[in-house]
Symmetry: C2
Subunit: 336 residues, 2 copies
DNA sequence: TGCAATCGCTAAAACGGTTTAGTGAATCGA
DNA sequence: TCGATTCACTAAACCGTTTTAGCGATTGCA
């Protein structure tokens, strides 16, 4: 069964496609179409189950009403809620969001970015990976609406929204230091992106201020070997260095860390205190609960959308700044 | 800066759009275009950073190379991995997947379905909600490729892939009965969809076979009031009925249940044994680990994509059946 | 040498809408 | 009564591709 087009309706009611288009787009009175014809068209459209071909509309109007969202990993709870909030917010403005995971893979990320471009998305919301610089610059040069999230490129002038990484780590470290921990380790990854650098620098800074702890204790987990090997790296690191507290730089590192700690048989917080970046159901439900620095996910998403909408010209209230850092929430639980 | 179109390239090299199109689509030799012109076009396209307008291509060819995926809730780990696998599999066949969450909301679901139709997706992968019947039938009538997942409509003849719900619950119940539990409760929701009915029926069936337990003990959680109220319902139910084991019908019910159990102060498995449908990081990491019936998520995703590709005519190997049930994995942990 | 076949490429229609500039008929004002 | 408006619509261009049919020039064959 063929889908019914606007022309089919036009033929059916004996009017021209233009007239039908006006009516279906609510411009009937503006174009002073008679109520009689208007109702006839509306009724026929409904009866025939007309659904406009959005592809044709997009081609003609140059607007797809689609936003492209690229996150690191949609199955990670942080990015999942980010995506969810963005989707909901975008809907308010009449935009649909298509999202994909870069898996922090540069090649994949660039490909996805190009695909979004080819699909003519109206705006981009991106958690960039290393290697995307050129394509991001291209988007900027084309003056397409764009907001980076979670991280950004220091060398490229774009809008971005991220958590205040330095402030968050600082808060967490102060908490640990105040609690009297003297050998605090920092477990992170080397993604090459700025947000991880900011977190690590804040740790280094905190250690350098500390009277008790002179030496940094940093593990950069290498994910190349997969989940199990990552856990092994953490296990080995903890066994060898024997810290009294550990700060995980992301939620997935924290989860892997909990597995390591469990495997080693350490008890939290007696043997080892734990703080983690990002909150998560697991940290809340864990026994003991894990102290975290919760990112203001909804606020990040909302801010990003608002900046983007401003660029798209859909926003009444102008935001002052388009490079934003939002404070994290410190949630103290039993792990420290 | 304006984006460069195929026509721009044509003008630049002094050829016709058709010729350029042939070359860019690798039909140069087939259309016996001279290598000289071919290379010139290719070079110019690259130099100008040409990216085909996929919207125009779609309009012309009638193919968007997009699959629409509707899940219940993308931030739920089960659906997240489902989506992820589907995305990866679809990519193999040259399809991009756009996904959205119905939130089990009939109105929202129908709207999303229509949006997918209007966006001209080439195929549908859907976890349907109550109220979608008509729109699903419409898709069937239009002979559009469609595979339902996780559930289906008994009255509508469509392809579907789901876990063997009855078999899974049966296995879980047998495990509990064999372990000697005599007052096994079943906590579920009333979504009106078949997969939940299948699970509940299997529980009822197991109880009716049981020598020890004569009475069903079922709670249907009402989600209307939100998370906290849902937890309260479970708490009240457990306090009042005092079961020695509880079977949660979905992973999110299990998570809420763990919070209830924790709030009441019951200890697992001494006071209460726990089995849950769906696996999850939380159940694995929980102390004690939670016994689960793990859905074969990847297999479900792969099967669904293959059936869909068959409908799209992209598959070499024909599948025999297009209505599939896959067995769940029983994973015994310390909670039972 | 003359006709057909081949070569290398192009014109133009089509996809399904939106939008600008009109068009003929009815109504209006003077 | 006649020119100007208004009314209720419509014709046609256009968005950026793909694809079918075909065109003039060259080559092949007898």
């Amino acid at each position: 069964m063929k889908r019914v087009s606007l022309k089919d309706i036009a033929k059916m009611v004996g009017a021209s496609p233009s007239t039908v288009s006006f009516i279906l787009n609510g411009k009937a009175s503006q174009m002073r179409i008679s109520d009689e014809l208007k109702n006839k068209v509306l009724a026929t459209a409904k009866k025939m189950g007309y659904q406009p071909n959005q592809v044709a509309v997009s081609l003609r109007t140059g607007q797809t009403k689609i936003l492209g969202l690229l996150v690191e990993d949609i199955s990670n709870s942080f990015f999942a809620s980010l995506a969810k909030t963005i989707e909901l917010e975008a809907e308010e403005f009449g935009y649909k969001v298509v999202y994909s995971s870069t898996e922090n893979n540069s090649k994949r990320g660039v490909e996805l970015l190009r695909m979004l471009t080819q699909r003519q998305v109206d705006g981009y919301l991106i958690t960039p990976t290393v290697g995307m610089e050129e394509d991001i610059e291209m988007i900027v040069r084309h003056k397409k609406p764009l907001v980076l999230m979670d991280r950004y490129f220091p060398g490229i002038d774009t809008a971005f929204v991220q958590v205040d990484n330095a402030g968050a780590v600082k808060k967490g470290m102060e908490h640990l230091v105040n609690k009297g921990y003297k050998k605090i380790a920092f477990i992170t990854i080397d993604s090459g992106m700025i947000q991880m650098k900011q977190r690590e620098e804040a740790y280094t800074e905190a250690i350098s201020r500390s009277a008790e702890q002179k030496k940094k204790l940093v593990l950069k987990v290498n994910f190349a070997g997969g989940r199990e090997l990552a856990i092994d790296q953490i296990t080995e690191f903890l066994k060898k260095n024997n810290p009294d507290a550990v700060f995980f730089a992301t939620n997935y590192l924290g989860i892997l860390g909990l597995e390591s700690i469990r495997a080693i048989g350490l008890s939290i917080p007696t043997d080892l205190a734990v703080v983690c970046f990002d909150d998560n159901d697991i940290f809340r439900l864990h026994l003991p609960g894990i102290t975290v620095l919760q990112q203001p996910v909804e606020a990040i998403a909302r801010t990003a959308i608002h900046i983007l909408m401003q660029q798209l010209g859909n926003n009444k209230i102008a935001l002052k700044k388009n490079q934003v850092q939002l404070a994290a929430n410190f949630i103290s639980r039993e792990s420290t």
